[in-house]
Amino acid sequence: MIIRLIERTAVLLVSLVVSSVLVFAFMAVLPGDPARVALGVNASEEAVAQLREQFGLDRPLPTQYLDWLGGLLRGDFGISYVSKAAIGPQIIDRFQVTLWLVVAGMIIALVIAVPAGTVMAARHRHVSGLALSALSQVGVAVPAFLAGILLITLFAVKLGWLPANGWTPPAEDPGMFLQQLILPALALGLVQGAVLTRYVRSAVLEVLREDYLRTARAKGLRPFPALWRHGLRNAAVPVVTVLGLQLATLLIGAVVVERVFVIPGLGSLLLDAVSNRDLLLVQDVVMVLVVAVLVVNFFVDLLYVALDPRLRVSSR
């Protein structure tokens, strides 16, 4: 247990360092220098040189990297080359927005996938199971931004029940916040739900074949209680893996949905940064997204141990 925790933590730390090097190196190899990129081709040499000096871009790359990494560790994301504003507050602000969206989407996905996948597995020979299965296959094929467009068309344009786009912070107007959250969260959640449903289905099907489920029924449990008490926890192990990966997909997938619904999240910050050629901001946002994904995967790994006692004995 402890060994595994130490091992996982070490893997996480190494991954974080390696990915920060990758992100930094990638942004550093770009043709042309960031100051020139930020100021545009028409800027004077002096202005570019001044910017380079101001942001320390004239120092050797390793120094710049360590400086950047040190800043990140202290929660200092640096100052934008373009707007000259501190990046940290912007990222924190935008990250909250995206987090709302992703968490709401994930909840919707789970609420759909767990019951639907279980029914699909338990009734996989019946019409209802097959129909759900076909429906999920179609759901998987719809990209989140298309779902968003369709939802807007239906609920905002045709029915006029909900706002087509926009964002209000929850503290400002909770009612409006919820109204504006529903459609984008649905767009993310419906599609991820369809994907997740298929994994829940195969995990439950796998468990239904297990001998211990037969033992549970031989004890006198009816099929559904047997599956509930003995099957779900076992089926959860593969589902949790997918959930971790999906959380990563959702974080990034939110970029597109934010664009559809005009939501000021991390994704739109990234896209704006790219179009403003604000390279440090791009680098910071990418790093935040990657860290989020790695940390999620770390917790997923720990969750396995909680779910499956066989992993607790010793390290692999």
């Binding site: 390696v18 043709p31 094929a141 990209p143 068309t153 796998e206 997909t249």
Partner: protein, 272 residues
């Protein structure tokens, strides 16, 4: 004779339809897909324009037809990149010693933290967005799933008696990989290619939607959707046709992948 597999048939038919559409678009489309005609802006579907026209008066059906080329092209290159790198990595991880295999798989896991969309945006920021950056980003992002699937398949092959016999006979790893492992994971490669293709179609659509994919005027389904957004109130049909095209393509490749999987391993039939 084995029972016809409905997923395989449906997926095959859809994929074939898209391929045929793309091929036909080289020699014939109802109109020039990029022809701007201000006189026929935003026309409803009719006999002369089956799917109507967009805000520039371009024929939607023609654009969908030509767009299928973009979709297939991006998919083929992306899956090719992923397979060419991912398959050898997976086999290498299965055949090499514990620590080097560990290093490969850990790097693989690390790559999972960089999804296609993020990579493509980074590429776009550095090199400028184009079809090429999109294809390569999607390809790189698809490497981990290839490597993982191939590794587990190759591990099984490595445990079979004929490989053990070949190793006992002193055969070198490379001939074993080429002669025994590769042919036995070929079915896995096919299945994974089909599944990755579906993911590539989705990613390409999302990138074009964001403006990080194929630049105009080359028609692309994702960008057609993005352009349709300003007409959701007046002409929602503009979103419907490219949307359907994307969904159909993804569905086709997913079904094909499922069908192939069942075909190669009938025991798994109920699992997906």
């Amino acid at each position: 004779m084995r029972r016809l597999n409905p997923s395989l048939v449906a997926g095959g038919v859809i994929v074939l339809l898209i391929v045929v559409t793309a091929l036909v678009s080289f020699v014939w489309t109802p109109y020039d897909a990029t022809l701007v005609d201000p006189a026929s802006r935003l026309l409803k579907p009719s006999w002369s324009h089956w799917f109507g026209t967009d805000k520039f008066g371009r024929d939607v059906l023609s654009q969908i037809m030509v767009g299928s080329r973009t979709t297939l092209f991006v998919g083929i290159v992306a899956v090719g990149v992923a397979a060419v790198i991912g398959v050898p990595l997976g086999i290498l991880a299965a055949m090499s010693r514990r620590w080097s295999s560990e290093v490969i798989m850990r790097s693989n896991d690390l790559l999972l933290a960089f999804p296609a969309l993020l990579l493509a945006i980074m590429f776009g920021a550095v090199f400028g967005a184009s079809t090429l950056t999109a294809m390569i980003a999607i390809g790189i992002a698809s490497i981990p799933s290839f490597a993982r699937v191939i590794r587990s398949g190759a591990l099984q092959v490595m445990r079979t008696e004929y490989v053990l016999a070949a190793r006992a006979a002193g055969r070198q790893p490379f001939p074993i990989a080429v002669r025994h492992v590769l042919p036995n994971v070929a079915s896995l490669i096919t299945v994974q290619a089909s599944v990755s293709f579906a993911i590539a179609v989705l990613a390409e659509a999302a990138l074009s939607f964001l403006g990080y994919g194929t630049p105009p005027p080359t028609p692309s389904w994702g960008r057609m959707l993005q352009e349709s957004q300003e007409f959701l109130f007046s002409a929602p049909r503009l979103a419907v046709f490219p949307g359907l095209a994307i969904a159909l393509a993804v569905l086709g490749f997913n079904l094909l992948g499922d069908g192939l999987r069942d075909r190669f391993d009938p025991k798994l039939e109920d699992r997906r």
